[in-house]
Symmetry: D2
Subunit: 343 residues, 4 copies
């Protein structure tokens, strides 16, 4: 059994981690911390966990955390980097679901996140936890930076195109739509039901923190700079991301369908849909899958890739569990077998 | 392994049965029929099942069905009663998720369902599949009538009050709210998103088919006629039923909280919430639980019971699997362990 | 032209007042205050008002407010009572959309609202602004307490029954469902889309502030104490209240349909639907109407009344404008002629 | 008063036309036809119109229609083209809200709509009713083809860029999101609330009927062929279209904000938002406005235009009324003054 601790379990990635770990056959939940809710039973805050999780939120206790094999950080940005070195030094492995270790360049991190990085030395060691790109490195990692939700959907959609070299990587477009749980479980006016329901809007068009993360990942795949326009939108649903990706084909375009199927043939969690399909976000609700379809409208020079995930599962907690499975030598889909709820 | 067939698998109870049975460790899915979609892969209609269900919808074939240990009917009303005798005679057990065998009185059935009953002789044998009331009979049944969604939520909420005899059973009120999946997966104007979203309405106030079913169940519990006003409402959500129940206390009211806790102490799927709680439908989304809270506002003479279920799980497919587990001697919660998605 | 000021215009009742007043032919908007947003253009906060409202939020200025003929308070509870005496003394009339002047008994107010009342002397003078009950008094009022949203829907539904004396007034039940805009435009977790969408729950079953307000209104109609159980629910929509009301008929029940039609024959904003109807909240979205239907299921002893309003219009800002029209001798429907958006 | 008839008034564009025309000060509604609902009171089908519209749906009667000054067709595609010649010959003017007269090339029409065009001779005369592009021609037209919803949002967003010649017109991208009312008020499984809520998907990526319509309009503006990738998506809301448009700047890019403001300075219904804004669809719900913002992320070579409309108003019925106002010499905003509902 893997002894697991969770730091910061009161948000949506936290409760989703709990949902997955509570049924994971190789995990023993040791502790879950929350400064704000210390003393409260987890199942009181999240009644869906009644009968499944008996833990009580506690103040972070370094010794209890150090007794774990693995600690997940489901905290706001900036927390994990303050605790990582100490835990690693005591032999604990870490998966950070926040952004602290996603960007390799501390200056870039500071630019987008507005704080100085607390342990830039760890950035080099941290492994970007996209299993479909970095499986081997994840297996040996002490510190995994779990990817952002948009970056997961966008990278999985672009990778086959960029790796095959068939598109112009200087003019990529990612038009992304997210459910509002992506904004987290925190009081705010903009994501009230009365504000966000029956409404649709773009946001952060001038620049969003996931832009440098996506660009870094795509550049790792191509080995050269990429040009990307990234426009996120808020859509009135709870869970789900739909990335609509556009790229311009260069000469000698391959059979795109085969290209995608070949790339993901051995991946449990990337489902290349049949030609002509339009994946729906609800087909991955609660599941760890990314479903992808590739189109070439009018046989023209523009490729359109449709990529959907559940932002809280493959875009957060599910991918974290997938990374844990890899790090601890388990079957990669252990505890991740549930089927999406439809309808 | 239990060899299972499903008749009529293209509706919401059908796809929900498939979601549950695909992961059930003791079930082997043998056949799933649909006249309308014969030849279509199940996973093409329901892409959430890709990789989990390889079956293709087929025309109903009596011999293939007769080779099953158990056949679920997830059909419109009136289908199961036409096929039941033949299957039973060939040794197949049946769980009907429609209404054909729910009412014991064929005249009452004809009055509410507008057709003559095809096999009234079987009505006496059929067991009403509410495990919390009829567990022993279900265990020995050949033919189980799976309860309706509203009746499940309402009966589980009223039973402790009626069994303890503390309320006036002549003036019960059940104000119920259902998500629109209760209307089924069929083309209709009234349940279009553009009609039903951002809207709330009562329907069938003069009379709804679940009224006689609920009354029959409550009368079985009390042994005498009950008076019930039942008002269903359509609420703009996909899954979930919230029953708000009102009853008038007679003298010598008991400790209501204890009464409910005692009644359901040994039930895996009925969760009596702590005093003062307000159960939310989302805490049972995708799960087989009924969560209940009991209130006595202002210490007055009116008891208010709040009872929530997922209409497709405890209100349909999940309860059917629970009944199957009982009929085949399995642990009652086999294959029903998933946790509700929150958020 | 009526010179109008609004105190506290950044909430949902505020923006709705602005929407109605901006097109009101007899109103000149003089000032709108907000401590939090002073200096911000109204149309920047609410872009739907671009081109219609040129005002900028300002700090409350007693002299500017005193120069108005009428001041609306669209503030949290407890603000209006601190400013009312001063404004009245300078000849300004007041409509308070909050609860400060709704209860006639200051002790009761303190019990339910948790603060001492700042000007109990004014409670006697204040007129409860339900035009269908108090039209004459409103016409001569200096200070109008605009009713709460639930109380409007519930009282309009019960009044014909209570005034005709045909029901047992000791056992009334009001099962009410509200859209989330009723919770106001303020940051909170519970009304986030990710919490409140695809979900349904009761709240405040032990006691809600609108209970004493409704009871006071119903007792004014009957002249004796009434017994009421009031259960509010949160439903995943933006606007709308659906009140489902239950009462027990006493002997000699009248023709209920005629009773309702007669009661509201001359009311512009109460629409008694044909017998058998089920009013939908969307048919009043953005409109000042209350639509009502009355049922007697199974010709039994329980009357069921269905009453729907838009909580922000007839339940708040629209009713406030209706009261203003009455107070200033205008046609009662001036500026209130818009038709509900369907779909 | 303009005597107006409506053919086919039971769909969403029909009820929206009725909402607008019922309050239009210069319109007298003469007749509204529906083969399917003949004999039914309009207000029975659409209770929001109770007290506003007294008409009864009737069978289409050529003489009654011929007595009108103007007939709106709110019918499925293919109906208006069968009745247009006869009505025009009797002096009636026509606005077709369907697609019959939108494409100038009958072969193209047949290709996309799957039927032969019934009166190709009229295609040359028909005026494409986008007032911001064709105002003068509309004023003199007998037959106006009201634009599609997507084409309205997309053309208004691209026109300033294409007219100024600052972008590469061979690689335009329109990523569009629509509420489900765009699919019309007809029974279908795909737009049930239980299917479309809490879900997001693209559709018709290989080709959508609005593609040739948009291309025709943009080519009229530029005078040469344009290359356009158009991807529509279904988003879980009732009303609203959000078009996110991408174009590549050529050298010598102008001040984009000024370019847009100059283009629409005199337009009542196109609102260019301040630099940096993100228009929300709800700010035009029920209103005839198109709100637009223009961005240049990272000062790069890609322009991003955000354009929102209410698909049933500026995208259908409102634009039709705007066209009527122009055709009959009224102020263009007559009867179109209502303010969007927020929230």
């Amino acid at each position: 059994m893997i002894k697991v601790g969770i730091v910061g379990g009161t948000g949506y990635t936290g409760v989703e981690l709990l949902r997955l770990l509570a049924l994971h056959p190789q995990v023993q939940l040791e502790t879950i911390t929350s400064r704000g809710e210390a003393g409260l039973a987890v199942a009181e805050l999240f009644p869906n966990l009644r009968g499944h999780v008996d833990l009580v939120f506690s103040e972070p206790d370094p010794d209890r955390l150090a007794a774990c094999d693995l600690v997940f950080f489901a905290t706001p940005n900036g927390i994990a980097m303050g605790m990582a070195e100490q835990l690693l030094s005591r032999g604990v492995r870490i998966i950070d679901l926040a952004a602290d270790f996603r960007l390799r360049d501390p200056a870039l991190w500071q630019q987008w996140y507005g704080m100085e990085h607390a342990c830039p030395a760890l950035l080099e060691e941290a492994v970007y936890g996209l299993p479909e790109q970095n499986r081997a490195a994840i297996a040996g990692a002490r510190l995994v930076a779990n990817p952002g939700c948009y970056p997961t959907a966008v990278q999985l959609g672009f990778l086959p195109l960029l790796e095959s070299g068939c598109v112009d990587s200087s003019s990529l477009i990612a038009d992304c739509k997210s459910g509002v749980s992506g904004a987290g479980r925190k009081a705010s006016v903009g994501t009230l039901l009365a504000e966000a329901a029956d409404n649709f809007k773009a946001y952060a068009v001038p620049g969003h923190r996931h832009l440098p993360e996506i660009r870094q990942g795509l550049e790792a795949a191509t080995g050269h700079p990429v040009g990307l326009t990234f426009v996120p939108h808020l859509t009135p649903m709870i869970r789900g991301i739909h990335a609509t990706l556009y790229a311009r084909l260069e000469s000698d375009a391959p059979d795109l369908q085969s290209c995608f199927e070949a790339r993901y043939r051995d991946e449990s969690f990337v489902d290349v849909m049949p030609a002509g399909a339009h994946p729906e976000t609800r087909t991955v609700k609660g599941a760890n899958h990314c479903r992808i379809a590739v189109h070439r409208p009018g046989d023209g020079s523009t490729v359109v890739v449709l990529s959907v995930i559940d932002n809280l599962v493959k875009g957060a907690a599910g991918q974290a569990v997938q990374n844990m499975n890899i790090m601890f030598g388990l079957e990669e889909d252990t505890g991740l077998g549930s089927i999406a709820l439809v309808p």
